[in-house]
């Protein structure tokens, strides 16, 4: 996923200036938006303009400096449609931890069961934070939906850690 696709898709609803786009993005992300650099939308807009995917027009404002209103070009719209049709899914296979575990079991430099324990604690802490954030969100908001997705993924990872641990314990018992 790139910021360009995100900004283009936000602009696909109707022409808007940078500040409006930032607000739309913040609305869609909820608390997750806190991690976002505010300047990113503006930087991306100027890159999109250079690439011919959006066009900017200056609009005079009575008491403030002119503002730039951006609009999708035909090429921009095409790219948005490509984005909708692109089925890439961000992969979260816990490859790194898996390899750590294999190495721990082989070298015995660290106890694999304890390794799983510490990792699980860390993920439980994250899950707790997500739940606390979710409690503060209105349940119907877009932000809450994203938090639910993040929480379900974490839960799946934690379940996998339990499977890992069970496997290790069973092997050691043999």
């Amino acid at each position: 996923m790139s910021m360009r696709d995100v900004v283009l898709s936000l602009l696909a609803k109707e022409p808007a200036h940078g500040y409006e786009l930032r607000q739309r993005l913040a609305q869609a992300l909820g608390p997750a938006g806190g991690a976002l650099n505010p300047g990113q939308v503006y930087v991306t807009l100027s890159r999109l303009e250079r690439a011919g995917l959006v066009e900017a027009r200056e609009v005079a404002q009575p008491s403030q400096p002119d503002k730039k209103v951006y609009e999708l070009t035909a090429a921009g719209l095409e790219r948005v449609m490509d984005w909708f049709n692109d089925l890439t899914w961000s992969k979260v296979a816990p490859l790194e931890f898996h390899l750590k575990l294999v190495a721990a079991a082989a070298t015995r430099l660290t106890d694999p069961v304890a390794l799983v324990d510490s990792q699980r604690l860390e993920l439980l802490r994250e899950l707790r934070q997500l739940q606390e954030l979710a409690l503060r969100e209105s349940p119907d908001s877009d932000g809450a939906l994203l938090l639910e997705g993040a929480s379900l993924r974490l839960q799946a990872d934690i379940r996998w850690l339990e499977v890992c641990q069970q496997r290790i314990v069973e092997r050691e018992a043999r």
């Binding site: 996923m1 790139s2 910021m3 360009r4 696709d5 995100v6 992300l29 608390p31 997750a32 806190g34 991690a35 976002l36 650099n37 990113q40 890159r47 961000s90 979260v92 069961v113 304890a114 324990d117 699980r120 604690l121 993920l123 439980l124 802490r125 994250e126 899950l127 707790r128 934070q129 997500l130 739940q131 606390e132 954030l133 994203l146 938090l147 993040a150 929480s151 993924r153 974490l154 839960q155 934690i158 379940r159 339990e162 641990q165 069970q166 314990v169």
Partner: protein, 247 residues
């Protein structure tokens, strides 16, 4: 904070092939009022046996157990039963609801047994069923409830006498996320009311709400960790880091 539950050197052995298996092997544990503690560990590590010992459903082979300041490991069956009714709430996977009683009658039963008036018992029972989203099922027999509804009725029953300690084994096992949320909220209120909660669960959402996590292995507690509160948003949501990437 006052101590609600204390175990010292708790041991429980089961007969094994050769030497007896120590299902619980010298557990020391203190739970304070208002504290929620989650016990984790691989299956067979002794979690459920520990819960049974703490609630007096099984007797330890060695060790001491104090509940609400009173030593209880030496109590007779009868006196344990009386003590338990008032001070310990169980939420276990097997619901053990009385088939002949309606949902609300099941819930109020422990209150009636300790001498609460019918009116007060019914009032509190309905309140709990309401909170757990099953008030409209109050008049049904257990046979006419879904698995998740029976479980919520069992939770209400465990809480009706406002026990010192609630012991829960997979309290959200059969529940959808909404009902799980109702139970978690109720557990949160237990803590605020100064009741202690000890739970065994594979449900990460439930475990993550605990104040403290105990990790068990081969009958012993090998780690204790405070989860603590945190509200940092940055870096919490993995996908967002990718947002910065340019293609």
């Amino acid at each position: 904070m006052s101590m609600v539950l204390e175990a010292r050197g708790l041991v429980r052995r089961y007969p094994g092939d050769g030497a007896p298996i120590r299902a619980v092997d010298g557990v020391d544990l203190v739970v304070e009022a208002g504290e929620a503690v989650s016990v984790m560990g691989p299956s067979g590590c002794g979690k459920s046996t520990l819960l049974h010992l703490l609630g007096g459903l099984e007797r330890p082979d060695a060790g001491e157990l104090y509940l609400g300041g009173a030593r209880v490991d030496g109590l007779s069956e009868t006196r344990w039963a009386v003590f338990r009714r008032r001070n310990v709430g169980f939420v276990f996977q097997a619901f053990h609801l009385v088939d002949e009683l309606t949902a609300v009658e099941n819930v109020e039963l422990p209150a009636l047994l300790v001498g609460v008036s019918r009116r007060a018992a019914r009032h509190r029972a309905m309140e709990l069923l309401e909170r757990l989203g099953v008030a409209e099922r109050a008049g049904r027999l257990p046979d006419h409830l879904s698995g998740g509804e029976r479980q919520r009725v069992a939770v209400a029953r465990a809480l009706i006498n406002q026990p010192l300690v609630v012991l829960a084994d997979e309290p959200t096992g059969n529940l959808d996320s909404r009902a799980t949320g109702d139970i978690l909220r109720l557990f949160g209120e237990l803590a605020r009311a100064g009741q202690a909660l000890l739970l065994v669960t594979h449900d990460a959402r439930v475990a993550s709400t605990a104040d403290r996590l105990l990790t068990m292995r081969d009958g012993a507690i090998v780690a204790q960790t405070r989860l603590g509160a945190g509200t940092s948003v940055a870096g919490l949501l993995a996908g967002l880091a990718e947002l910065g990437g340019e293609r």
